[in-house]
Symmetry: C2
Subunit: 346 residues, 2 copies
Amino acid sequence: MLLRVVSLGFGNVGKALAQMLAEKETELKSAHGVEIVFVGAITRRHGAWTSSEGIRAEAVQRSGWPGGDLPHGATRFDGSTEELARLPHADVVLELTPLKPADGEPALTYIRAALSAGKHVVTANKGPIAHGLSALRKLAAERGRLLRFESTVMDGTPIFGMAQACLPATRIEGFSGVLNSTSNFVLGKMEAGASLDQAVAAAQAIGIAEENPAYDLDGWDASVKACALANALMGAELRPAEVQREGLGREAMVAAIASRAQGARIKQIVEVRRASDRIDARVRLESFAAGSLFGALSGMEAALKLRTDTLGELTLVEGEGGPAQTALGVMADLVAIARGRTVGPQ
Amino acid sequence: MLLRVVSLGFGNVGKALAQMLAEKETELKSAHGVEIVFVGAITRRHGAWTSSEGIRAEAVQRSGWPGGDLPHGATRFDGSTEELARLPHADVVLELTPLKPADGEPALTYIRAALSAGKHVVTANKGPIAHGLSALRKLAAERGRLLRFESTVMDGTPIFGMAQACLPATRIEGFSGVLNSTSNFVLGKMEAGASLDQAVAAAQAIGIAEENPAYDLDGWDASVKACALANALMGAELRPAEVQREGLGREAMVAAIASRAQGARIKQIVEVRRASDRIDARVRLESFAAGSLFGALSGMEAALKLRTDTLGELTLVEGEGGPAQTALGVMADLVAIARGRTVGPQ
């Protein structure tokens, strides 16, 4: 099966994906019968290209684009991102544009355009899943197309694919998670003796914190993830502004570190549960004893504990993540599309 | 899709499965299009029955069989287990007989009989997977039938299904795991101050240790699990006798507990890695610092850390397990068979 892919956005994840697809090209074909080529890509700074034939990942990677020249055989494309999302000979649109946490746009618009034009969609962007999953699922079902989004939470850690493929007829009652690596890295540094400013600077130095880290430290990133998870796994219609963010931010972090018990670890956690008539979501700082599972996580590890009615508690722990881990999730989604599967409504 | 199931063995897992299938009957049909009926079952003590129509899980459960009467509509069957495994109108054979760790028999024979007769097979028995997976896979492929075994390690925790569905073109380089709950429960009790004999008695009292607990404490259970995992996930041909069991058993446990560092936890672990020309597997006691992930596990929790070339490290942690968790794995395998999927060769 040949999948012709258009990529909206082509930053670190796009590059890591091209590398992984190039490395795994032979195995994808022999073990899964899947052949993947790029028929177009766009970035804000470097414009766009298309290819009628399709360009192998290895050739995209070798070109150095978007830093270097267009891949060999590519043609400059002057249309808009939405037009590219409707490219006639594409089978799948990869939506890898930057997150806008407040409303999930413009990714929502791109995904709608792609599904409406009959494309399957893979997104690594949690914004549209947090802000509009149920409408997107409806649109995908109407068009008979697949929408997958494994890499939106905990990089490519198999959360959504696992729930779909391995937990049939299972009700997810709730979950808790250590999902924001910036906050937890900063808290870890503070536990080791750094000041908040030093810890934030260290996070910035390794590229996991923005110049203004409030989006992470104030719990917005975790809130968007909470919504993506709750909407996909629990059928919620939760929006980031509805998540209760309590006792977060710089002062609260300093106070929590100062007042923690001997050996305890402070983590920024997400907690979601079914209440009688709604789904209740919170982000807050919590103290974990040294011998607890969440207390055992390093600053760069993430974890999600699901509470289910069939399997009891199941926890997934991701080692250090990054673009390569995100790329695995995208690749898994592409293979799943080739196999004709979807992350459908529960 | 109707699946007509024969169950070889019908103990705690069979009963838990019947209960789960009864509870989830409506959802399995509406969300997955799967209808499951029992067309036969056998236990060593209570004999066997068949049904040409098929009996719903709820009716099997209500009958109380194998403790009570035959389910309504069932007919006494006087043939052998192998004959039942070839029952003409069965689609799937559930192999739920007791484990024989030394050679995987008679389960291996039953599974071969079922596959040869054109049945799909689901087993919760790690013996045949540890002793004969590659030959069984070959036979299944020749017959165009599916063989699944999610519940053989860590109850129904989605290990094999996840690797298949969510980690395409991924090489599993190795893994370590805390997989034997009896040993780890006993070690936990000893850390809390119990003597070995007291701890073993406590494990026996809650039904997780045999009268002679050597099979668990000496690492045989973990060795069989190591083989099932290595054979399925890494393409190994490892047999339990080839697993290096080092410093295990009663005396070693007492010594490890006595000499452990402040706050450290002792766990019986499995460790498997690729060496240059073979796959190397060990079971041993190891000390984990209080702040480590394996050190944070309670005595009844199990964990498996996979090392992969695409996702880095991924750890699955199961909360307290039991027959219901095993039943979920069996149900997931049945649904996967209905969807036409297999855990095929990597």
